[in-house]
């Protein structure tokens, strides 16, 4: 006997297909807000290229490495398996594995999801670690407060005994000095200077100087995502960005914005990241509609807007923002004859030598070599690449007392290369890499935009 004897197998007429209302049924694809990334393991070759690129696995053999954390852990998962291996918290979110993988496995996305699941399900919300991480991840909030009284904050933050207490009570390493808050934030400067209207005027003047025809330009508009650090701590970088772009005739806008989310991803605080991301996507996609492109001066911020947002969020405009976001130098290289401009320019001084470190998040965007390549043609300065190692700090990672040693062990190679390089100034795009470079070598660290400003913007 078989099921074949069913007399009625004519199917249902097309007009009655299913429940008509289901056409806009909002299918809750991932009911608990979790992404099912098991199919991401389909691309994996098991070749371990990711593992050979992992700076943490190289110095800590207890860390099972990105292949395990990513495609292996996900592939071994079943729906009811809620437990995530705690070692996910030892991943520093450098994302080098993404860049390495020859098969396009979404490694960092898997890590981000796994970390969020771990923090959500397995980390005690009453633990010091949780709150320490939460505070680190939400640097912007603290920075906002601190910047109100910058001198006091700076004095308190770098008070030795207080730092020791911070390590004991809060798990923040006492080895590092807190970054100083600027006495005037970038946004304060920007408002003071007259905001977008002034920028528009300056850009127009620059265009007129350069030959006039496109004085009325609708395309030369950029919206600046300055991030937290350039606003509160290194406004000189942000100012350099504004001046350089205006020099090339771009009108700069500086919309309201939150944190890019990088430190939140790295600490598994996806809900916090989602809140800020929503603001950012909404504000910037509005400007994109008006013809603006989005420019970042921090490579972790651009990484976040470009890659992590579309991997993790689905707000309207997310893909648009990702497709229109660029790192500052990258944008100018594509749209301007930057090479020609630098060829003709020079910077004053006695042939300054800069030891350049490419941040991991620049590497991920294919930008790790652009600074060295660009400044090769600039007279008066030498830029030397200090190699492809990771600085080891990875944002908030190196600030955690229990991660400090790992962070410094990873950084050792870079410190040695910097010491070997000529000159005693460093250069990088990433603010936390800069902290680590300074911490390990005592060098002053500059941003490529500052050098570009020196070279191109006559003041």
């Amino acid at each position: 006997m078989s099921d074949a004897d069913s007399p009625d197998d004519r199917g249902v007429p097309d007009g009655e297909r299913g429940d008509a209302n289901e056409d806009f049924e909002p299918v809750e694809v991932f009911p608990e807000g979790d992404l099912d990334l098991r199919s991401g393991a389909d691309s994996c070759y098991k070749c371990s290229t990711c593992d050979t690129n992992c700076p943490v696995a190289e110095v800590d053999d207890e860390f099972p490495g990105p292949k395990f954390q990513g495609p292996e852990q996900w592939r071994l998962k079943r729906k009811e398996d809620s437990e995530i291996d705690p070692s996910i918290m030892d991943c520093s979110n450098c994302m080098r594995c993404d860049d390495a993988c020859p098969a396009d496995v979404p490694l960092s996305q898997m890590h981000n999801e796994a970390r969020a699941e771990y923090v959500d399900g397995q980390m005690s919300k009453f633990s010091v670690e949780y709150w320490r991480n939460r505070v680190l991840a939400n640097y912007r909030k603290g920075a906002w407060l601190g910047s109100k009284v910058p001198r006091l904050t700076n004095a308190l933050a770098n008070n030795g005994p207080l730092r020791k207490l911070g390590e004991k009570l809060f798990g923040l390493t006492a080895e590092r000095e807190f970054p100083e808050f600027a006495t005037e934030t970038f946004r304060e400067w920007w408002e003071e200077r007259g905001g977008a209207a002034t920028s528009k005027k300056r850009a127009r003047e620059a265009r007129a100087d350069r030959g006039g025809a496109d004085v009325q330009s609708e395309d030369k508009r950029v919206a600046y995502f300055h991030g937290c650090y350039a606003n509160y701590n290194t406004p000189e970088v942000a100012k350099a960005m504004v001046r350089v772009f205006e020099h090339f005739g771009y009108e700069v806008a500086v919309p309201e914005q939150g944190c890019s989310g990088t430190p939140m991803f790295a600490n598994g605080m996806l809900d916090d990241a989602r809140r800020d991301a929503e603001t950012n996507v909404s504000n910037f996609s509005d400007l994109i509609d008006e013809g603006y492109d989005v420019i970042c001066s921090c490579t972790s911020c651009s990484m976040s807007l470009r890659q992590e947002y579309p991997e993790l969020f689905t707000f309207e405009g997310t893909a648009d923002v990702a497709a229109h976001t660029y790192e500052a130098l990258e944008y100018l290289r594509i749209h301007e004859d930057l090479r020609g401009a630098l060829d003709e320019a020079e910077v004053g001084g006695e042939g300054e030598e800069l030891a350049y470190h490419a941040p991991c998040h620049a590497r991920n965007q294919g930008l790790d070599r652009q600074a060295v390549e660009l400044f090769r043609d600039l007279d008066g300065v030498g830029v030397e690449d200090v190699g492809d190692s990771c600085s080891g700090i990875s944002g908030t990672y190196g600030w955690k007392a229990e991660k400090y040693d790992t962070s410094m062990a990873i950084g050792e190679e870079m410190f040695a290369e910097m010491a070997d390089a000529d000159g005693e100034t460093g250069m990088t795009e990433c603010p936390t890499c800069a902290m680590q470079m300074e911490h390990g070598t005592g060098y002053e660290i500059r941003h490529p935009l500052e050098l570009l400003e020196d070279a191109l913007v006559a003041d």
Binding site: D5, D8, E25, F30, E72
Partner: protein, 568 residues
Amino acid sequence: MPDAPTVLVIGGGSTGCGIARDLAMRGLDVTLVEQGNLTHGTTGRMHGLLHSGARYAVSDRDSARECIAETRVLEDIASHCVEETGGLFVKRPEDSEAYFERKLQGCEACGIPAEVLSGREARQREPYLAEDVDKAIAVPDGAVDPFRLCVANAASAENHGARIETHAEVTDLLVESGEVVGAEIEHGSGPGTRSHRSPGATERIEADHVINATGAWAGGIGEMAGVDVDVRPSKGVMTVMNVRQVDTVINRCKPKGNADIVVPHETTCILGTTDEEVEDPEDYPEEQWEVDLVIEELSKLLPVLQEARTIRSYWGVRPLYEPPGSGTADSEDITRDFFLLDHADRDGLPGLTTIVGGKFTTYRMMAEDVSDHVCDRLGVSATCRTAEVPLPGSRDERVLDDAMDAFGLSSPVARRSKQRLGDRASDVLDTDEPNPVVCSCEGVTRAELRDAIGQSGTDLNAVRIRTRASMGNCQGGFCAHAMADELHPEYDPEQATAALDELYQERWKGQRHALWGEQLSQAMLTYALHAATMNRDRAARSAAGSRTEADDRTVDFEAFDGGAPGGD
């Protein structure tokens, strides 16, 4: 137990192992012989569905009732082999409403818990279900690991004094004075076989009763004694996906049809199947259209399958049986019920019983029936206990969770080991030596491999089915050689090499049906590693244990670079 009657069971599949366990527990002196590995035949080539019975609820309600009863038993006695996934019978818009209703009524009539879900509710359970699926029936289908279940039955039989011989092919049945009195077997001589018998040796095994539990091969065994057993083998493809797209068994709710089921199995999903009658269960075409068909058809339920990676396909042969004279034309219409052939009554040949037909889910019940019958014939009175006594490894989850923390394994690896080993996990993993993960696709550590080697010797395919090592997406590319390393020094280099070659070829065989996209790229990487980096393709021919051993002596080492002058 010198006075116990002796029984020879032929066939190391689920039924044979089940019978061996049952009879051994009843105190009989049992020997089981299997021509290959345990599960070599149909058992090792099924999709791993533990039937709730819903599949038969319209067409064959007796089978359906048996299934639900046996599923409950297995959940109890073999918890480490069973995953209670639940199942869905999914209706697409073009599928018959009336049939859906009949399915539902059938389930109710057979005592199979069934719940109707809207399309939306079904998608909440399984997000990848197609958006136009309009409703579904949820039933208690499950997934079962046939390898582990079979091995656990064999282990239990051994614990009760049975002798289990794998790679022992029956070459003849011994018939004396019109009665079957045993069999002649030949111990395997192929590479990588278990080494405790001398390969090629023949052995006469005498028995008071012989049980032919060889499924699709039953006709051949019957022939040896001159009896006619008309098994109609029917092949079906199973296509293995790289990951689990679903965690629930997905059936299409329509009357008979090819390509209508997806079973989550361990780390993978298995798509099935086709149903084509074949002449010879050992030799039949494995065809491209079958693989394409299951992918295309099942993509209608789970569109994600269209682009998903498959890692291999395999075919199984159903041992369908029809009593003489039924004359069913289409193999799909042949009953899935089982038949006990008492050759004394049927053919006037005492001493032999054949069991054919049936399905995996009810293997234990079939074993019980056969055992009852044989005990009756042999005048033994003992009752069946297989439904009550748990199989080796079936565990108490809570005790295990605590114990697993101690072994320094990463969470998913520990979880997997525990799922595979059940309550043996602590014993197996408790080692003082470094215990690296050897197969990272499936999270199998050295200790687990060594345990399996202890059970099955140099047969790495038997090690594979016990541990799942080499069954992940690289299909052994990164671990087959490391698995073979574990055989040394207990076994000599020639055996290790032969075992590696055999495993590697077996992995290749199934992978051939998945060679496009990611799996073709993977195959190229594996080929490059084993041929270019290790030179296993050319040098292997001349290395230890191969067919052309003479060749290697012809390599003129002096003709090659002996190092730079003055170099080190």
